[in-house]
């Protein structure tokens, strides 16, 4: 069976619009009858990824593929890349500026959270080129 595919632009300059794509995906998954657990996992992981693209990478693109067995989310940006992924994956590690912290973000919990809520996670990143997150959640 071929997957249902959805594409979203995540605007880089507009923090207030971050989360629109994940909210839309959440709604769609619900309507398609995926389990509440799977819906929740995808929504949370994708939102964290979306926020990261806005804060750290000047925006990017999200592609979501919905299969009967699994949901795949790909988040691709042309931002600065992550020099040390292992460090970035640690809870509390963050380079977020104060403007972002004042909004309540930038606690360094995003990537650990994505790891926690996905069944598979792969990060491809190159300094000066960009970052791509491949996430998978089993239905």
């Amino acid at each position: 069976m071929s997957a249902l595919t959805f594409r979203y632009e995540v605007p880089g300059d507009d923090f207030t619009r971050a989360g629109e794509a994940s909210s839309d995906v959440k709604r769609k998954l619900k309507q398609l009858g995926y389990s509440p657990e799977a819906v929740r996992k995808v929504a949370i992981a994708m939102y964290e990824g979306e926020i990261n693209m806005v804060i750290h990478a000047g925006g990017g693109e999200a592609v979501v593929e919905m299969d009967p067995e699994e949901i795949r989310v790909t988040l691709r940006d042309q931002g600065p890349g992550i020099p040390d992924v292992e460090k970035a994956m640690q809870k509390g590690w963050s380079t977020a500026p104060d403007t972002v912290r004042n909004l309540g973000f930038g606690a360094g919990m995003g990537l650990p959270n994505i790891k926690k809520y996905t069944d598979e996670l792969r990060i491809e990143t190159e300094v000066g080129v960009g970052t791509t997150l491949y996430m998978k959640v089993f239905a």
Binding site: S23, R40, G104, M109, N113
Partner: protein
């Protein structure tokens, strides 16, 4: 006859809270959560929680919606951003506001949750 469910509308009444956005007033409240750090709430806000916070911004609404929180209770009379208000309306998230701080409000929530159990 006594209702079994503890709903957002009942909490609003009990707290004598100002209702800034009605959202889903029938939503059941199972527990509470106090936190102002959105990243943290993103990781830990329990489903069905009345979330007590001073963060009245758009991202707080998004977090509550994505985590299936029951409602947001703005404590200490914290302000609600205009765009957060319209987002909450779209997402069906109820936003209440009280004068007391998070500690006082959480105590009363706890009292209310237990009281109705009997």
């Amino acid at each position: 006859m006594k209702k079994e469910k503890k709903q957002v509308r009942d909490l609003a009444e009990f707290l004598q809270a100002e209702c800034l956005v009605q959202g889903d007033l029938d939503r059941e409240i199972q527990t509470g959560y106090v936190c102002d750090l959105l990243s943290w709430a993103m990781a830990r806000l329990p489903e069905g929680a009345a979330w007590m916070t001073v963060m009245g911004n758009l991202n707080a609404v998004a977090v509550c919606s994505l985590k299936d929180g029951a409602c947001i209770v703005l404590t200490d009379n914290a302000p609600l951003d205009k765009n957060a208000e319209s987002r909450a309306e779209t997402e069906g998230i109820c936003i209440l506001r009280v004068e007391q701080g998070a500690y006082e409000t959480a105590l009363r929530l706890g009292e209310w949750l237990r009281e109705e159990e009997k």
